[in-house]
Assembly symmetry: C2
Homo-oligomer: 440 residues x 2
């Protein structure tokens, strides 16, 4: 595309007609949307990749930013940088608010972006099961801002405890609750316990950070419910060994500035971290179609709407079942494979070729790390735990990071932390907390 | 100090009496305050080190965070971590608001912290010469939040330009003004020009980032006025080579949402960065003493108040002249040497020994980098410029970074950027800009 005329075409709505190539608009540059864009490189299309962030985020390691192990830039890449040399993609930074399926255009910040084919890959955000009033008390972990906010709250709690003279106040400040026993909750709780017991242990004078309580609350009967029971048990034992209290079988019934209610019991805690529920972005509303309770939109074997085969839905917003009728989980490998699949569907359709075989998820296994040298891996019938699983987990995550630079930096940081037990990114930044204890 | 009784003493105001050791309170953990605390390690004192941030910041590299080359944690360290093994120091996170010299205590967030000896090392912040209304339009560069805010503004300007269709609007978005021709302004302008011309060049479709205008405005007759004229000239030429327009001899007379006025001329620019003036923190008010126009408090040869020899003032807040009657500049080597000096004064005084010789600044030279392989160094009569100066500048800065970990990470990031021209930390984070153009 000619650099000097591109701007005239860009947002004016005449791009398709002018260039003659079909316009593919992809909303969301997460694992699904980015994979779709990259795999459409050879296709004779013009791609517009829209995201409200300028960066693609490696969410599986976001908890390490929240616990001061990694810097945000270690796990995020400018989207533009990733498609720099792919001349059939343009990237727009903006917030999509509606889709007009009749006139085939997407509304972004008051502008209309025309499409011939539309890919919705907007992901999910954390959800509070109808209790949005819990949000200020229990931040979730989806964006870099979320992670630095949680980091700020955790580190500030220790700082305030150091200055507190009332033992009750200090106990409240040193109690941390993680809500949700899935991989994110388990990783968060384990890493938080290690932070208190290792990295911070020698740094305070009035308090002993090793006295901090970390409580992981899971409403179901076991942590890591997606894994087999044996690995769940292993994870629970590994967490206990790190000093995490695991409370299963009762849901959180209340979150406020004092702490939480677990079932009928109150647990006073200054810091509550939400790793429990997610809800898909409101794409069903945009599209005028129905969704399940979590906001996911059912799609067919081509991952397109049954009402409109020009609209594809992938990743956490798509409701897709595997061969056994189970809903596919909202994890990176599912989104990537779906992104790859629709790239094939689109290329075949435009080339007048028959469509590829229906989408089928190839299980890439489940991984979760609990702490230093403890992890669980489930890959089909293969089940791994402990030290070997932990090393494999680390290698896999370094491998999946995009770009050599980030692999180098993350490997250096991890090696450093492994040898020294230190955490390199213990920064309190951002506006001062407005959440101080109302009473006492 | 016994961990389990420490909290009872901590903020209650009885520490001095209880432990029997003199209480040294240091306000500010920048280069001066931190050096004083570290060098008082062997002294028979209890030190309270107070800062409103939890981290010590290596300010000389802050502009690299603002221009997406480094991550905040690469140039910042938790203060606690730095004094972890020094048992005579406790660290408090808080904001000092007043000093009561009569009763010898410092007010911090509503608490009284008693002192026997007080060290004020609170540094300076950027100043707008009586035009505080310029602040929202021209952020300065003193904290990590400042740096990430400037990074956000710079990167967002390119993103908005990519989507703009009006050529005037696009030109406005791609004009960047740096106010102030000292080392920070020169480094900022040079790095910003490189960002546009190298790292971003290939990433956009509708705009050519190489068309961005970077204007460095200096009210005086030359950039780097602290250096010799020859090096000033060299810096100016090096900036021009990078594409920076250097405008000297006229001050900024206005800053608003449209841009700036340079003398009588309007320059429309979406992004203005303030690197011009600094003012000391309001310690003269705290202490009830007089100061110069920049807020600096004059001190004697022991760096103590003439009115009160128990109050020391060091770093950017101290007004100290060298042997030739020139005021010492607000740079890291001055602050560090002063911190070291008062540690000796305090140790001598407590040991009943005669005081050390009066403070005299040993010139450590001036360094400024302009861009890739261009820097200037002035060390006494030695003057260096160009490639060798640039390598020395890099080695010196790696060397001065605290901790092996940060040296490793920063060296890796720099090596990467050097080889690839890439910038690793191109993240737009934080709240969305409210500063959009009022007209057009």
């Amino acid at each position: 595309m000619n650099r000097h005329t591109a701007h005239e075409l860009s947002v004016a709505g005449t791009a398709s007609a002018a260039s003659g190539r079909p316009q593919v608009v992809i909303v969301g540059a997460g694992f699904g949307g980015l994979t779709a864009a990259l795999e459409l490189a050879p296709a004779p299309v013009n791609i517009t990749l829209i995201d409200r962030r300028n960066h693609h985020l490696f969410q599986p390691l976001l908890y390490q930013v929240a616990t001061a192990g990694l810097s945000p830039a270690d796990i995020a890449w400018p989207i533009r940088r990733l498609v720099r040399w792919q001349r059939n993609v343009r990237v727009l930074l903006g917030q999509v608010s509606a889709v007009d399926r009749v006139n085939k255009r997407v509304w972004m910040d008051g502008r209309a972006i025309p499409y011939d084919l539309l890919v919705i890959a907007t992901g999910a955000s954390h959800a509070y099961f109808g209790h949005d009033e819990w949000a200020p008390h229990a931040p979730g972990l989806k964006s870099i801002e979320d992670a630095t906010e949680i980091r700020r709250r955790i580190l500030t709690a220790f700082e305030r405890a150091e200055m507190a003279t009332d033992p009750d106040l200090r106990r409240w400040l040193l109690t941390f609750v993680v809500v949700g026993g899935g991989p994110t909750g388990v990783e968060m709780a384990g890493t938080l316990a290690e932070l208190a017991r290792k990295a911070l242990a020698a740094d305070f004078r009035a308090i002993d950070p090793r006295q901090a309580r970390v409580v992981l609350v899971e409403a179901g009967s076991r942590v890591l419910p997606g894994f087999s029971e044996g690995l769940s048990d292993h994870a629970r034992r590994a967490l206990s060994k790190l000093g995490v209290e695991v409370a299963t079988g009762r849901p959180i019934t209340r979150c406020d500035s004092e702490g939480v209610m677990i079932g009928e019991d109150r647990l006073a805690a200054a810091t509550v971290i939400w790793a429990a529920g997610v809800a898909a972005s409101p794409v069903a509303d945009w599209l005028g179609v129905s969704s399940d309770r979590a906001g996911r939109v059912p799609v067919g074997s081509e991952l397109a709407l049954s009402e409109d085969s020009d609209v594809f839905i992938i990743g956490d917003v798509a409701l897709v079942e595997d061969a056994d009728g189970r809903t596919l989980p909202g994890i990176a490998p599912v989104a990537k494979q779906q992104g790859s699949h629709i790239a094939k569907v689109i290329a075949a359709r435009l080339g007048g070729r028959p469509p590829p075989p229906p989408f089928r998820y190839r299980d890439r296994g489940l991984l979760a790390t609990i702490g230093r040298r403890a992890a669980v891996i489930e890959y089909g019938r293969l089940r791994l735990k402990g030290r070997l699983a932990w090393w494999l987990w680390g290698i896999a995550h370094i491998y999946f990071l995009i770009s050599l630079r980030n692999r180098l930096i993350v490997a250096t940081q991890w090696l450093w932390s492994y040898v020294t037990f230190d955490r390199g990114a213990r920064l309190i930044t951002g506006p001062a907390s407005s959440a101080s204890r109302p009473t006492k």
